[in-house]
Amino acid sequence: MNPLREAALVETRRHFFGRTATGIGTAALASLLNPQLFATNQPNPEADLAKYRQFAPKANRVIYLFMSGAPSQLDMWDYKPQLNDWFDKDLPDTIRNGQRITTMTSGQERFPIAPSKFKFSRHGQDGVWISELLPHTAGIIDDIAVIKTVHTEAINHDPAITYIQTGSQLPGRPSTGAWVSYGLGSLNENLPAFVVLHSTVNGGFGGQALYERLWGAGFLSNRHQGVSLRSSGDPVLYLSNPQGMSESMRRRMLDELAKLNAVRYQAVGDPEIQARIAQYEMAYRMQTSVPELTDISKEPDSVLKMYGDEVKTPGTFAANCLLARRLAERGVRFTQVFIRQWDQHGNLPNDISRQCRIIDQPCAALIRDLKSKGMLDDTLVIWGGEFGRTVYCQGKLTRENYGRDHHPRCYTKWMAGGGIKPGVVYGETDDFSYNVVKDPVHIHDLNATILHCLGVNHERLTYRHQGRDFRLTDVHGNIVQPLLA
């Protein structure tokens, strides 16, 4: 629309808000100005959708359950019964093959094998081996695809988690969620496209560090940055009006603000002013929509029960899984739930048991919940961490207690829902869960596959920065076809 005509329209409708103190005036004003402006999170004007949206999307949104610190694939997923005979024997050199290891264990004189102390049994139609740590997840095994051969190059947490989240070990690139927000926008104009949830462990935080960059927008516009939804204080930063300012006062102030901004727009003709009016309206709507989102009091008991007792404590992993479903339901494109304290260099059996008690039931509940709501078909769920853990023991080894160092060369993640073939177990590792024997899945491949499920060609979703077209998968990434439905 021609800006002068817009200004004229504003002028002719001045009576609309000239005499009213309610929100109607502003709403009317805003719709007069430019309805497009309310759609800031709709498919992105900066990106050329046709260029990279090349497949029919199977998934419309993503829930990424991120296990920060790196869970042990050997104790949860990658069943190696023959290791019992290898207890306290040295890892053969032919297996390690001179690969670099962290300086936390590179000084160890020996690399004694630590078999998992946990029992495995077979579940689902194909009899997939799953550890006793995951009784609930075992119940959804036919709905998920387990990938045993994910691998990366990074061997320490900071570079590794930065790598899997942004496609580069060095800070500075956009995160996966930011790319998705950039590429696909939001389905809900009242909520951000990318939301991040942090989970408490036994009421506290701690464990390996996380960084804003892990859900950052890098060189993309910061509107694609993940917004942390907090479990204490304002769920979204600065959401609540200050004390003493009632909702009606806020509305009145915003109406007057919009009016004065519109007057200014008439005088100077800067379209940024229109955009700002629209942003204030969205902020106002968020003040209502976010509390509604986090209020789970209307969830049926049966649902709450499914997620377990902790679901009622905000900030727990269980509560965050339910919240993730509610976000997905409301059209949030990308929700990432973080839970830390998987970095078990010592005392692993005890600590991993605690972690699995926390995550097992909610993970399974999330899948069941999505399924029962008919949402699993177009919601992609991903579970896993930044790398795996070593078969050899770090520190003192007994049958009952051991620790494991970082292991980048193979580890397990699972995916489910939109676009993913259920009931698949993909990839094989060697007898020591040390090397990939068949069907490796590099983390770039994984990210390429995630984008593919969203209907996005990972090689085409690019952003020109410093003269180069950057993408999430850098110059790598192959879609893992056998995982696709």
């Binding site: 021609n2 060095l170 800070p171 917004v227 942390s228 007057e256 004065l260 901004n261 090689e459």
Partner: protein, 1027 residues
């Protein structure tokens, strides 16, 4: 009138205005080839396909494997690059479909035109030395202040656009004050400018602003984005680091208008200058600002490489406007920078004395101490005072005579003495803790063995109370034994009692009874078995030698834990038992000497200890005197009293000196290794894949290195600021331009390479660059010239026609208008409210931030996991002093596009989001500012509502409200006043926002209603915009 394109955008379409002109290879063709062809036919040899190379003239003309020529000058029909672009065969079509690239028909036509015109070749414009362009002639009827205007106007004229009228004075002073200081003008300053009707009025304002210290702060704040300055290490633990003296150096450098070439040299290589001054060393903090790690498990070599790569990338972005990082893995795809040249640059930064692991400490070496003037003055004073006290001591010595009463006698029998550390109370400064946290220490008055009370504990399982951080530590001497009194309840005896000592580590333990205490899996000094459980029902003295628990002589114990397994246990006095001399023995210098030797006492200061270590007969007279003095002053049981006053004075002086020394800030600097580390080309950028060894060298194709320059960072810096350098000055003036006009003449201010955008005004850019160098790299002069231009002083109002023609305002047919930066928005709110505390420099501060932002993400052991908000003045400092935690930057800044400072950034985005609205609506900082602005309005704004409103609006916007605005705002005021009068508690609640107290003298309802008006003003689009 010529037909005009609908919009004017840069790079290529702008050229279509002038279709009749011959094609300019450098500006029109090279970017097309680069964008579409260079990935496979460019400088990177390994990726080159079909033997075709289009980044060199010879390559383009060469005979190909296919028998064709890529380019046949004068005949586009025979040029295979054209036929391949035009073919309908999808398999042959260039660029290939799977590359995701495609060329427009107009672009292919342009290439054909170029070939048909003879395929003239040339270099990329930015790599050619700028030639002084002729300044276009002045145009009649246009307002022209200087050469800048003439360049701008010539281009506008070409596009049939004209200047906007000059901005009114109120707009102008707000614009220029924000631009040069990052703060708004005060009402007084606006009035003075309005009153000054002379022709020089504006220039006077500009001069005043350039003299203001705020100029340096503002300039530094922007520079620090490029320097990736922050207050934490950035990786893994993200602990605090101290480098703010570098930040203050930058402020000072801009304020004293240090020439930009010197500014460059000192930051890149200040340490390598002959006899560098302290500030010159501090300046090298620039390249210590990079992120570092100390993550357990990391491999040093990997990080040495990463740090050097970061420094090359930063240095080349800031000075060369080149994206060198691409060449760390392979030859640059677009620009002529080879991988070898990258590692030659890398080599300059690869030989520092820094360690790969930052140790998570404040000052990973190398660092320097940077005392403030006040600290230096006080140090001098104290040193003088020390001298005069020493002189008094000399006088006392003159009146004393001393004869050793036991000269020549042997040491004989020694007595033992208890030094009690804990009895009835914890030692001073100690923090009590234990199983019940701060409530862990419980006391009883019976049974007691010493003093008034004993601590007690009943436990099931392992349990303890302890303390740490005792102010005066227990210093362990030789032969010392540690003791504590214990009483086990006969009705409920424990299985284990354990003492644990902390000298920084708790690994000093002794237990009695079963091995069920802490660290039961450990042996040796970390868990020493000292005996059986004592008999219950009576006090027993537990004793263990310090040596047995691994505490060596001189160890300082700050903490003690009383631990038990099950049972009820009472504990009483604890401490250390030492051997000691009697007073009679201590009156003898020779016995004291023997005693020290016998007990292997901790050494005295070096000079004294050297004397003690010298056989008495071999000591010089001066040494004997020195020793005797020490003995009389500090050891002799009676005589030392004569010196007590002076000794106390000396102690006080020394303590203060030590405190100053501790308080003197230090900062990270660069330092070259004596033995340089050999750099290599690294295959794919992998640190393990070393190839050819390379040495430090500049990329010669930009500008040949001069023989007389040293082959180190200093030579690199001097090369960068060589007046012949094609890039440095252009890149720098472009950033300055961007700072004022919102967009650089080259929009991609970080990339002047072939993939970067073409300059909107190439001649102007060159003119500015040469002018800047010619002026001696004078930064203040440069900014003055810019703001005095008529171009800058235009109104920023935009008509529909102009907006449609030039939405980004690249041609400048109107004044600049864009949202203020994050820091400026907050600083402005603080300034207009009167809250701003203007203190230059210093340690970073922690103003308001919503709670619980650091904890959920921080590593458990990080010293930045708890955000502790500052109080008082620290809440109201300029935002450039806000503590910057890289992994969780201050949210109100990040929301307004402040970068996270992990990497170099020379161009910020400017978004417009709902989260920004929420910050301005609800951040306590802004609500508090609103209520202070309201209080100022009530107290300083005059008596009537109209006057007050005018004051508030002028304070925020530098202009008066229009009648419409005034009516609207007063209407709001009346409504809110009525609402607060109906609910005064709400008014009081609102006015309680923020730490600063409310002014009680003001009526709360009125104050709150004005607060709402002020709040609205701070939220106006105009307020957060420079217009």
């Amino acid at each position: 009138m010529r037909p005009l394109p609908l919009t004017i955008s840069f790079a290529l379409t702008v050229i279509s205005v002038q279709a009749e002109n011959p094609v300019d290879f450098s500006r029109e063709i090279l970017p097309l080839l680069s964008n579409n062809c260079f990935e496979c036919h460019g400088p990177d040899e390994r990726e080159r396909k079909a033997g075709l190379r289009l980044d060199t003239h010879e390559g383009a003309l060469a005979l190909l494997e296919s028998g064709d020529h890529g380019v046949v000058p004068g005949d586009s029909g025979k040029s295979s690059i054209v036929t391949r672009m035009l073919t309908t065969d999808a398999d042959d079509r260039m660029p290939p479909i799977d590359s995701g690239k495609s060329m427009r028909a107009s672009e292919i036509a342009k290439i054909r035109q170029w070939i048909d015109e003879g395929a003239a070749w040339g270099g990329h414009w930015a790599f050619e030395k700028p030639e002084r362009p002729s300044v276009p002639s002045e145009m009649e009827g246009w307002r022209t202040a200087n050469a800048i205007d003439r360049f701008i106007q010539a281009r506008l004229h070409e596009a049939d656009l004209a200047f906007e009228s000059r901005a009114d004075k109120e707009t102008l002073i707000r614009r220029v004050t924000l631009d040069l200081t990052g703060l708004p003008p005060t009402v007084k300053e606006v009035d003075a400018f309005l009153a000054d009707t002379s022709a020089e009025a504006f220039e006077r304002v500009v001069d005043r602003l350039l003299r203001s210290k705020k100029f340096g702060e503002h300039m530094a704040r922007i520079w620090l984005d490029a320097a990736r300055y922050a207050d934490t290490h950035g990786l893994h633990l993200d602990n605090e680091r101290t480098i703010w003296p570098y930040r203050d150096w930058v402020i000072d450098a801009f304020n004293r208008n240090q020439p930009f070439d010197q500014f460059t040299i000192e930051q890149l290589a200040g340490d390598l200058l002959p006899e560098p001054s302290l500030p010159q060393r501090v300046a090298t903090g620039f390249n210590r600002c990079n992120v570092t790690t100390s993550e357990g498990g990391s491999i040093d070599e990997e990080y040495y490489v990463r740090y050097a790569v970061d420094r090359v990338e930063t240095t080349s972005t800031v000075w060369l406007g080149l994206t060198a990082g691409c060449a760390s893995c392979h030859d640059h795809k677009f620009d002529p920078l080879t991988q070898k040249e990258f590692y030659q640059l890398f080599s300059y930064f690869y030989s520092l004395t820094e360690k790969a692991m930052d140790g998570n400490i404040h000052l990973p070496p190398p660092s320097v101490k940077v005392p403030t003037d006040a600290q230096r003055t006080r140090q001098t004073q104290l040193t003088a005072m020390r001298e005069s006290v020493r002189a008094e001591i000399d006088t006392i010595h003159q009146d004393l005579t001393y004869t050793d009463p036991h000269l020549g006698e042997p040491l004989g029998e020694l007595s033992q003495a208890d030094h009690v550390w804990v009895d009835d109370a914890l030692p001073e400064g100690a923090q009590g803790d234990g199983n019940e946290g701060a409530d862990s220490w419980k006391w009883i008055e019976d049974p007691v063995v010493s003093g008034e009370r004993a601590s007690t504990r009943t436990a099931s399982g392992l349990s303890q109370h302890f303390f740490i951080q005792a102010k005066t530590p227990l210093v362990i001497g030789s032969h010392d034994r540690l003791f504590a009194y214990v009483y086990l309840d006969p009705k409920n005896p424990p299985q284990t009692v354990q003492l644990q000592f902390n000298d920084g580590s708790w690994d000093h333990r002794a237990y009695w009874g079963a091995n069920k205490g802490h660290a039961s899996n450990r042996k040796g000094t970390a868990n020493h078995h000292a005996g059986d459980l004592p008999k219950p029902g009576k006090w027993t003295r537990l004793e263990v030698s310090a040596e047995a628990v691994g505490l060596q002589e001189g160890a300082k114990v700050h903490g003690l834990a009383f631990t038990q397994y099950d049972g009820t246990v009472h504990w009483d006095k604890a401490g250390v038992v030492s051997v000691a001399l009697t007073d009679a023995q201590l009156a003898s210098l020779s016995l004291w000497e023997q005693f020290r030797k016998h007990t292997k006492a901790a050494p005295l200061d070096k000079a004294l200890q050297d004397i003690l270590d010298t056989t008495p007969n071999n000591r010089t007279e001066a040494q004997r005197d020195r020793l005797r003095r020490h003995f009389l002053e500090q050891v002799h049981p009676t005589m030392k009293a004569s010196f007590a006053q002076q000794q106390a004075a000396l102690r006080a002086i020394d303590e203060e000196l030590a405190a100053i020394d501790k308080a003197i800030p230090a900062t990270l600097v660069m330092e070259e290794r004596k033995e340089p580390r050999q750099a290599h080309i690294l295959e794919r950028g992998e640190y393990t894949e070393k190839r050819e060894a390379v040495s430090s060298q500049v990329p010669e194709w930009i500008l040949p290195g001069r023989e007389d320059l040293p082959p180190n960072r200093l030579g690199l810096a001097q090369w960068l600021v060589d007046p012949e350098h094609p890039l440095t000055a252009r890149v720098t003036v472009n950033r300055f331009w961007q700072q004022l006009f919102g967009t650089g003449l080259v929009k991609t201010s970080e990339d002047f390479g072939i993939q970067g955008e073409q300059p909107s005004h190439p001649e102007l850019l060159d003119w500015l660059a040469l002018d800047f160098v010619g002026s001696g790299w004078d930064v203040k002069r440069f900014f003055k010239q810019l703001v005095l231009s008529e171009t800058y002083q235009q109104s920023s109002r935009v008509t529909a026609a102009k907006r449609e023609r030039d939405p980004e305002n690249r041609l400048l047919a109107r004044g600049p208008r864009f949202r203020l930066d994050a820091e400026t928005i907050r600083d402005q709110a603080l300034a207009v409210s009167g809250l701003l505390v203007h203190q230059l420099g210093g340690k970073s501060v922690k103003p308001y931030q919503p709670s619980g932002l650091w904890k959920p993400v921080a590593f458990g052991g990080s010293n930045t996991q708890e955000f502790k908000q500052d109080s008082g003045a620290a809440l109201y400092r300029r935002s450039m002093y806000t503590f910057w935690k890289r992994t969780a930057p201050p949210p109100s800044m990040a929301t307004f596009d402040a970068p996270n400072r992990e990497t170099c950034m020379v161009r910020r985005a400017r978004t417009n989001t709902p989260l920004q609205a929420l910050v301005l609506m609800n951040d306590v900082q802004y609500i508090e500012a609103a209520r202070h602005l309201a209080a100022r309005t009530l107290r300083e704004g005059g008596a009537t509502l109209d006057e007050r409103l005018a004051f508030a609006v002028r304070t925020v916007l530098a202009r008066r409200p229009t009648p419409t605005e005034a009516a609207s705002l007063l209407n709001l005021y009346e409504d809110q006043l009525a609402a607060f009068e109906a609910d005064t508690q709400a008014a009081k609640d609102l006015l309680a926002t923020g730490d600063s107290p409310r002014v009680d003298a003001l009526d709360p309802n009125e104050h709150a209603a004005w607060t709402m008006v002020a709040h609205l003003l701070l939220n106006l689009s105009e307020t957060v915009t420079k217009g």
